[in-house]
Symmetry: C2
Subunit: 251 residues, 2 copies
């Protein structure tokens, strides 16, 4: 009863990221800029992890007082959202007509963005894409599906499917990295520790498949980290291919 009017309007900082704010004609010139604040946040996150990103820490990075940041960002959540947007950067613009090659290229580019900024996967998703780069990636993904017989309902589902997969793999990679950095082990030792841990917690009777997988040495080495990603991606693309070709042949 208090505030029945649902808003759904965007924060000023997001509008600024879209370049929709005309700079005010009055008052002192800003000493900072939204971009510089976001870049400082990224610098801190890259160097010290997302946990180190506090308003105070970001301000220190810029040599300003903590509260000055709030002239550019209304809340920390907004800063994080814009940091992720900047971490994505612009999507690949290669002109690719083959949807499969295009989507694969797109997915790899997204994975590389997350590898460059592993903290990206730790920022909780706050809603559907509204920042410039997020929407640009979405647009590019949809464009790659242009030649396919997929419906307007299906195309976004495909993008969700692929980008969600990228995010998952990136998350697992980040988990592994954080685990062995925290315990300062080598990646191999971390995997090995996990193997021994699982074997000690479970019995072969109750967890036969898990034991079989662990004993097969599946988790022994982080062989080529790309192989894991490739496997799932190819399955997804195969599944899409099946649908697309079935539509194409039954015209």
């Amino acid at each position: 009863m208090t505030d029945s009017g649902g808003d759904m309007s965007i924060p000023a900082s997001i509008a600024a990221a879209w370049g929709l704010t005309d700079r005010p004609s009055k008052g002192p010139k800003p000493g900072l800029s939204l971009q510089r604040v976001v870049q400082a946040g990224i610098a801190v996150a890259d160097a010290e992890g997302l946990g180190a990103v506090s308003m105070a820490r970001v301000a220190k990075e810029l040599g300003t007082a903590t509260m000055s940041l709030y002239r550019y960002v209304a809340a920390k959540d907004e800063l994080l959202l814009l940091m992720v947007d900047a971490a994505y950067g612009p999507p690949p613009t290669d002109v690719i007509t083959d949807w499969r090659k295009g989507l694969s290229n797109w997915a790899w580019a997204e994975l590389k963005a997350f590898r460059r900024h592993p903290w990206g996967v730790r920022v909780p998703i706050s809603g559907p894409p509204i920042t410039p780069n997020e929407l640009a990636w979405f647009e590019r993904g949809l464009a790659l599906l242009r030649g396919t017989p997929l419906t307007a309902t299906e195309k976004p589902s495909v993008i969700l499917l692929v980008s969600g997969y990228v995010r998952n793999v990136a998350t697992v990679e980040a988990d592994l990295r954080e685990a062995f950095e925290a315990a300062n082990l080598s990646p191999d030792d971390a995997l090995n520790g996990y193997n021994r841990l699982v074997l000690s917690l479970t019995t072969p009777e109750a967890f036969p498949e898990v034991h079989a997988v662990v004993n097969a040495g599946t988790f022994d080495a982080a062989d080529n980290p790309d192989d894991e990603f490739t496997f799932g991606l190819e399955r997804i693309l195969d599944g899409l291919d099946a649908l697309i070709t079935s539509r194409t042949t039954h015209g």
Copy 2:
């Protein structure tokens, strides 16, 4: 140089969840139990969201002092991990020989668990599965692939692929729900607000595909929320089917 010995041993509370702790013979009888603490945490999260889960709030739920919880859990992170584990519950135990039906059933069960406890997707993933239910789900998933020609390396990849997808869809569903609860709108109005927002931020020239999708009314209604899930799941299963049948026919 300080602490070169990497540990990789588990927290006491996790061991307790596995039933590996012999209760101490000395001292007063515990007034609480790990299970009760975890259940209280779940009750708070279900009723008021994950954001409301503070140690103080959980303690209040139990009628105890905040610090008493630390006799059962060494840190809040552990509590959250165990809350998620309990939210999963045991995996479906249906005996299904057809891998595709089995995996589908498994995926749907996981989605339902997340729908029951939507905050589950908001708990950041801290590492590979080590809690009882998490590992039980993993085991079940692997068991469903027993009859397939997939290798010991591929099977976990498949599980990661499917459960990651479930998690993504559950996250998107949670996003939507939180968005319209926050703005107290109906789901339709929330979707509509997003549509108008996107159209106002982007131009049809720069974002033609996005405009086409929005104008097609794709995001107008949350029709049957299950349809979205089904679409992606079937694509994944199709992709797996392609691999499995190719292996089967080429013996």
